[in-house]
């Protein structure tokens, strides 16, 4: 069986995307609090939902980035041939 090697550069990149997703989820939660006139305590009480949203955003970004990388790869192959 072949070992999978994830380069440190890739891990750092994904952690940045995850942090970005978390920040975006926090901003969305804050927007929702203002939009629906809910108490600011929801910044803490809804932490579990914010975390779930952050993971969702990160997965979505991963899918989009994987798709984009595939398209780029196909285009570069065609140019090379």
């Amino acid at each position: 069986m072949k070992d999978l090697v994830i380069p440190a550069r890739r891990i750092r990149c994904e952690l940045r995307w995850l942090a970005g997703s978390l920040a975006a989820a926090c901003v969305i939660n804050a927007y929702a609090i203002v939009r629906f006139s809910r108490p600011w305590s929801e910044l803490l009480t809804q932490a579990h939902r914010v975390l779930a949203l952050a993971l969702g955003l990160w997965l979505l970004s991963a899918v989009l980035r994987a798709g984009l990388a595939t398209v780029r790869s196909l285009v570069s192959r065609r140019r090379a041939s």
């Binding site: 969305i28 939660n29 927007y31 929702a32 609090i33 939009r35 629906f36 809804q46 939902r49």
Partner: protein
């Protein structure tokens, strides 16, 4: 029903149980009958022991006796029953040497008894209670208070004049979920009470096994009008007491109907009934009972503009549930915008179906069935030890007893029965 064993809780367990009830908000200061529970727990000294005589240790009386045997600081010192099998069975659960009587007057004459628990057929409540008070004994009498309105009033007057501890078996006064419901309503969080709705449904003939035909009326006294007022006093009195307590007032009048439409076995009291009590401010209590279908069981509901309470199941339902968190509302809104179909035509009205919401619990620990009965007996014992009557008990006893009889008379006489004037409380 009399169990075969009794477990005396440790003093710590007992105090924990009391703390659980009193922990429901600041109830101890708001509900006048709770402070006796806060009394110093009894010590091991004989002087701390309260000696109780049980008059009628049959079914309900036997149950109360079992609870008393498990209450610290209370001694069941004497038993009285004119039905020997009940007396023997009860005596077998008590300490050897517990005095036995077949005439309650003998028991009341005993100087060794501080108080009595009366759990006899309804028509015997008044003569026994009045005799006990007159003999200087503290009294715990089972609901409903008495067989006639005049007797209810006479007991109330005698209890007030005696200065003795007087308590009636309305155990819901010591239930945490009812106390919480009362506190919730008192705070006005649900708005004013607009209606009470109660029902008590069972499916059974309400009969007990009779060893000899001549004992039919003695054992199945609930079925005969000479001894009982049937569903009104045996079941309804609990809910009528609740309506009086939660509304803080008494009914103005009562109308109702009842019949024997299922158990046509020679009984004299109704096997189904439906009554409406009129309270001040246009509030009503709609109550019904039957013993031919148990689907709906027992429930007492308090309807208010901002919500309603199902007291028996201990749930509160808000008319407008609290809004969901902002994030959930945002996601729901996006989801609705993406997936909801827009109807071009449709019904111009929505059926008024019952709301299918779970509500929230008034008390998470209410399943301990005996808790409230244990506590009311503990309060009875503590009050005797302190030598102070329990506030509010005479009012609850008389008001619920009178309301139960109003319901019965409204049915029997097919008329509107008004709240009697010049009652003692």
């Amino acid at each position: 029903m009399i169990g075969n064993s009794t477990t005396v809780p440790t003093r710590r367990e007992f105090l924990q149980r009391i703390a659980l009830v009193l922990g429901a908000g600041t109830l101890a200061t708001q509900v006048p009958w709770l402070p006796p529970l806060l009394a110093q727990p009894p010590g091991d000294s004989p002087a701390d022991r309260v000696r109780i005589g049980i008059i009628g240790p049959g079914s309900r009386g036997g149950y109360l006796m079992r609870l008393l045997l498990a209450t610290p600081g209370i001694e069941v010192a004497a038993l009285c029953d004119d039905y020997a099998p009940n007396l023997e069975r009860a005596a077998s659960l008590c300490a050897p040497g517990t005095r036995r009587h077949s005439d309650y007057r003998e028991l009341l004459a005993s100087r060794e008894i501080d108080g009595v628990v009366i759990a006899t057929p309804l028509h015997e409540h008044a003569p026994m209670t009045l005799a006990a008070l007159s003999a200087g004994k503290h009294v715990f009498v089972e609901k409903s208070l008495a067989y006639t309105i005049e007797e209810c009033d006479a007991i109330g007057r005698a209890a007030k004049a005696s200065g003795l501890v007087f308590q009636v078996g309305h155990q819901r006064l010591y239930s945490r979920r009812y106390l919480r419901a009362h506190a919730l309503l008192a705070r006005g969080e649900l708005g004013p009470i607009r209606q009470f709705r109660g029902h008590w449904h069972r499916n059974g003939d309400w009969r007990r096994r009779v060893p000899k035909p001549e004992l039919e009326r003695k054992i199945n006294w609930r079925l005969y009008r000479r001894y009982s007022a049937g569903l009104s006093t045996e079941l309804g009195s609990h809910h009528f007491q609740l309506a009086n307590w939660l509304s803080g007032t008494t009914p103005l009048s009562c109308v109702g109907y009842g019949s024997i439409n299922h158990w046509k076995d020679g009984r004299e009291v109704e096997d189904n009934m439906a009554v409406v009590f009129r309270y001040p401010n246009g509030v009503q209590l709609l109550w019904d009972s039957l013993i031919s279908n148990a689907h709906h069981g027992c429930e007492f509901k308090v309807m208010c503009p901002k919500g309603y309470i199902e007291t028996e199941s201990g749930r509160v339902f808000l008319e407008t549930p609290p809004p969901a968190p902002g994030l959930v509302q945002l996601v729901n809104g996006i989801e609705k915008g993406l997936f909801e179909t827009i109807s071009i035509g449709g019904p111009s009205w929505v059926p008024d179906l019952a709301k299918d919401t779970e509500g929230s619990l008034l008390d998470e620990n209410w399943r301990e069935v005996d808790a409230e009965s244990k506590l009311q007996l503990a309060a009875f014992g503590n009050a005797i030890r302190q030598g102070k009557p329990i506030p509010g008990m005479i009012e609850h006893a008389v008001h619920a007893g009178v309301a139960s009889l109003m319901a019965q008379f409204a049915m029997e006489e097919n008329r509107e029965v008004f709240w009697p004037k010049n009652l003692c409380v």
